[in-house]
């Protein structure tokens, strides 16, 4: 035994005990959104000043290479970077880091969110608060992106006349696409993933609540930075940010790279936390074979995020370095390559498509057993499908580059991998088909949205097979056909699933019901107008209309006008949703505390909204969540297990000593 000379201190092993930062300070002195804003402004000013300071240092570089960009990017970029840091500091994100660096213990703030509404405007560590924050944040981002979409359709009402001029049109296209792509990656993973991750696996906590809350609070920063691009003239590249056009572009391009990069970091952090939570924090008895399907989808999506998004972040960083530090990653004449961007971007970009698709599969797979009153058919197949999709998605990115001249001899291989991915995707349909067999289907609003998701995604998936085929892709690539295809998978798949999730889980999350009648109105208008908006786009693409153009052949006007008018009606439908959401949650507030859908899901076994610690005791999971119709099925979990059951499920040296 080693002899240690350690002064005996009258303190706990974790250092001096500090009084938890209680509510002693007045509200305005406690970190929240307003201090975050102040921090952001201060940070921006510091960054801007610093940028101006180092601009001359790189001016020699700039004059040497003639400057890849005439715009002074340093002050802007550093302003935004420091502004974001200031925003987080103002929110109090770094307070705990400071405590750690001083060796102080962390206050347990996870389960004691202060105040009523105010906690939603703070850096709150409770995953349930984060889920609600995400829910309203994502809805806002989605509707903002939707407004841009309607602006696009307004311009396309006429083949020649311009409501928006050419650069405004590209600005709107860029804002819409980037907003949707970066934000909608979290549209399910944010609200439902964060809220239900511990509830569904029977845990009282997340692995890293600080990382989780940080992931959310990066999204408003990304949102504001992206929108600020409008004031800077927008960016001309759409969401794909193709080089070297991006190097040529004005300061709006910096907002694209920064916003997307911040959102990328948010995705990495959120996925990281979820993976660690799912692996380690499952309740005793929550075996991998009992994991709800939604958790499987979140688990696989998280892996995609943690592994593929760093590549995007690296690519965006290279873009920013080209624009500020005057490197030449993407400039052909200076030893770079525009192909590098295409490869790096799509290496992220294809997994991104499944980051958007898989959560949708998870939500509907979770919902259909409840409303068919049957077990999920082929549980293993469903899980295998999700794993298969996420694995394969790393090996298909070159199909975005079939006509680019990059490795043309690899096209048969990528055609094969791309088409192979439809096999695991097809499993989702096998599972649904089996579950519907001789079912007792209830047409509740969530179920309607789930069925619509299967309908829409099928069209999106089958059109994807057309795109994966190189000869057919020569006609379809980069046209409105592609646009229609991925709107069918993302909007038709993911957003419909998101809606299903809201109607299904909102009673759980907030303890209030959504209005059923408005919900049905919302569903039917959205389903019809969605299809009426996007189905004609397949035809437009086939008839030779490229994406992102503001002028098109005159003979395509009728179809385009049809689409535009449908898109306005789709907007009206979403307005119904918005009214329903706001009125149901803030005004009508029809209480729902029980289990309105008679679901076996573990999250439904506690009261609504869930108690602060989710569960009174660590539950012991006894069976599968989908055992509907099984005679003598054991309850899904023992919520109040006798002492010792949990302890025997793990081996702790400390307890057995």
């Amino acid at each position: 035994m080693a002899i240690e000379i350690e002064p005996e201190k009258a303190q706990g092993p974790s250092g001096p005990v500090h009084a938890a930062p209680g509510n002693s300070k007045p509200w305005w002195a406690r970190p929240a959104v307003h201090t975050g804003l102040i921090g952001a402004v201060i940070g921006y000013i510091i960054g801007h000043w610093l940028g101006n300071l180092i601009s001359p240092a790189t001016a020699g570089v700039s004059s040497f290479s003639t400057g890849l960009s005439d715009v002074r990017n340093w002050p802007l970029v550093l302003g935004y970077v420091f502004g974001t840091i200031g925003w987080l500091a103002g929110l109090g994100v770094f307070n705990d880091l400071g405590r750690l660096m001083l060796g102080k213990p962390l206050p347990d703030a996870e389960h004691a969110p202060a105040g009523g509404v105010a906690k939603y405007f703070r850096y709150t560590l409770d995953h349930k608060v984060v889920g609600i924050q995400y829910l309203f944040g994502m809805t806002t981002y989605f509707l903002t992106g939707g407004l841009f979409a309607m602006a696009i359709r307004t311009e396309l009402l006429s083949p020649t006349y311009h409501v928006l001029n050419a650069s405004q049109y590209l600005m709107v296209v860029g804002e819409h696409s980037t907003m949707m792509m970066m934000m909608m990656s979290s549209v399910v993973l944010g609200p439902f993933g964060q809220f239900f991750a511990p509830l569904m696996i029977g845990s009282k906590r997340m692995a890293f609540p600080r990382i989780e809350a940080l992931a959310f609070w990066l999204t408003p920063a990304a949102y504001v930075i992206l929108l600020s691009g409008i004031l800077l003239g927008g960016f001309p590249t759409g969401w794909t940010g193709y080089e070297p056009l991006a190097t040529q572009a004005g300061p709006g391009m910096d907002t694209y790279a920064l916003a997307f990069g911040l959102m990328g970091i948010s995705l990495i952090l959120a996925g990281f936390n979820l993976i660690v939570t799912y692996i380690n924090y499952r309740a005793p008895g929550m075996r991998w074979s009992r994991l709800p399907m939604f958790v499987w989808s979140m688990f696989t999506v998280s892996f995609l995020q943690v592994l593929s998004v760093p590549v995007l972040v690296a690519g965006l960083y290279m873009m920013l370095m080209d624009r500020t530090a005057q490197t030449a990653f993407f400039t052909n004449q200076l030893g770079g390559s525009s192909y590098l961007w295409e490869d790096v971007f799509w290496f992220f970009g294809h997994p991104e498509v499944y980051i958007l698709a898989l959560p949708g599969f998870g939500v509907v797979s979770e919902i259909i057993p409840v409303f068919t009153r049957k077990p999920l058919f082929g549980y293993r197949v469903a899980a295998a499908g999700m794993i298969g999709v996420s694995l394969l998605s790393f090996f298909v990115w070159q199909h975005h580059l079939f006509d680019s001249g990059i490795n043309p001899d690899m096209r048969p291989l990528f055609m094969l991998t791309t088409e192979l991915i439809s096999i695991p995707t097809g499993f989702i349909y096998l599972v649904a088909a089996g579950t519907f067999w001789k079912a007792k289907i209830t047409f509740s609003v969530p179920m309607l949205f789930a069925i619509a998701m299967y309908f829409n995604f099928l069209i999106g998936g089958v059109s994807g097979v057309f795109l994966s085929d190189v000869p057919a892709d020569v006609t379809e690539h980069g046209s409105f056909f592609v646009m229609a295809h991925f709107h069918y998978t993302i909007m038709g798949g993911l957003i419909f699933a998101f809606m299903a999730g809201i109607y299904y889980w909102l009673p759980k999350m907030l303890g209030v019901k959504m209005n059923e009648k408005l919900g049905k109105w919302h569903f039917w208008t959205m389903f019809i107008t969605f299809n009426s908006t996007f189905l004609p786009l397949f035809a437009l693409g086939m008839m030779g209309m490229p994406r992102r153009v503001f002028e098109y052949q005159r003979n395509l006007q009728t179809l385009n006008d049809w689409v535009s008018i449908s898109s306005y009606l789709l907007g009206v439908s979403l307005l119904i949703f918005l009214i329903n959401l706001i009125m149901s949650t803030l005004v009508w507030r029809v209480k729902e505390s029980g289990n309105p859908w008679r679901s076996r899901g573990l999250e439904w076994q506690v009261s609504s909204p869930p108690p602060p610690e989710n569960f009174e005791r660590v539950p012991v999971v006894l069976s599968h969540p989908y055992l509907y119709g099984v005679k003598d099925a054991p309850p899904v979990a023992d919520l109040n297990p006798p002492v010792g059951v949990v302890a025997s499920a793990y081996a702790s040296a400390g307890l057995e000593a």
Binding site: P13, P310, Y650
Partner: protein, 221 residues
């Protein structure tokens, strides 16, 4: 169910049981997190690795290095790589000591590792500001100027982590590393600290490998 048939240890109450459960979760979580972080970082660094080999093989405009190319200082590069390597080595050796209860030894080793890491960062910044080429002068220059700031940020984060461990270790009696502390709470604190140290060691060793790899790319070949 097998879970329901086990006999509880004597004197166990529900709160202790739960604390033990989440303690165990946190220990495992620490292991998972550090390995997962390595996976994510590998893809981040992999992007630069890809950029390096892609631009090198394309040699577009004949300017992978260019005709008037000046190599970055081999001496500085090697010293920086070695400092990371030694820092990781010292930390690794010190961690073996703390397992034997020599807290002081680990603390000294940790401080040296921390200082070496910070010295690397400073030296790297100095090198970036005094390069013999402009960032845009070649593909090589771009990858070089692009990669090292990222590496600096990652190393800096690791050093902050090491600093928090050093700060925390002050409040843990050295005896606790070899003998069961009197209360579970104290035992948990020690075990979590150890889990964190082991996670850090894994990441820091991993970063040392990355440092060698990119040193080889940028300075040797």
């Amino acid at each position: 169910m097998s879970e329901a048939t086990a006999t509880p240890p004597a004197g166990l109450n529900a709160d202790m049981e739960e604390a033990g459960f989440y303690h165990e979760c946190a220990l495992n979580g620490s292991w998972t997190a550090s390995r997962l972080a390595m996976g994510g970082l590998s893809f981040l660094f992999g992007s630069f690795l890809f950029a390096y080999f892609y631009l090198r093989s394309l040699n577009s405009g004949g300017r992978w290095e260019g005709s008037g190319y000046h190599a970055p200082s081999m001496i500085m590069g090697t010293v920086m790589m070695l400092m990371v390597l030694i820092s990781a080595g010292i930390n690794y050796a010190a961690v073996q000591r703390i397992k034997a209860g020599h807290k002081k030894a680990w603390q000294i080793g940790g401080v040296i590792a921390l200082l070496l890491g910070l010295a690397t960062i400073s030296m790297q910044i100095f090198e970036l500001l005094n390069l013999p080429f402009y960032p845009a002068s070649s593909g090589f220059a771009s990858v070089f100027v692009g990669f090292y700031p990222v590496f600096i940020i990652v190393v800096l984060s690791a050093m902050i982590w090491l600093e928090t461990l050093l700060a925390r270790s002050r409040f843990i009696p050295g005896i606790a590393f070899v003998e069961q502390p009197p209360t579970y709470e104290e035992a948990f604190v020690v075990q979590r600290f150890q889990a964190s140290v082991s996670g850090f060691t894994a990441i820091w060793n991993y970063l040392a490998v990355i440092a060698i790899l990119f040193w080889f790319l940028f300075y040797v070949i």
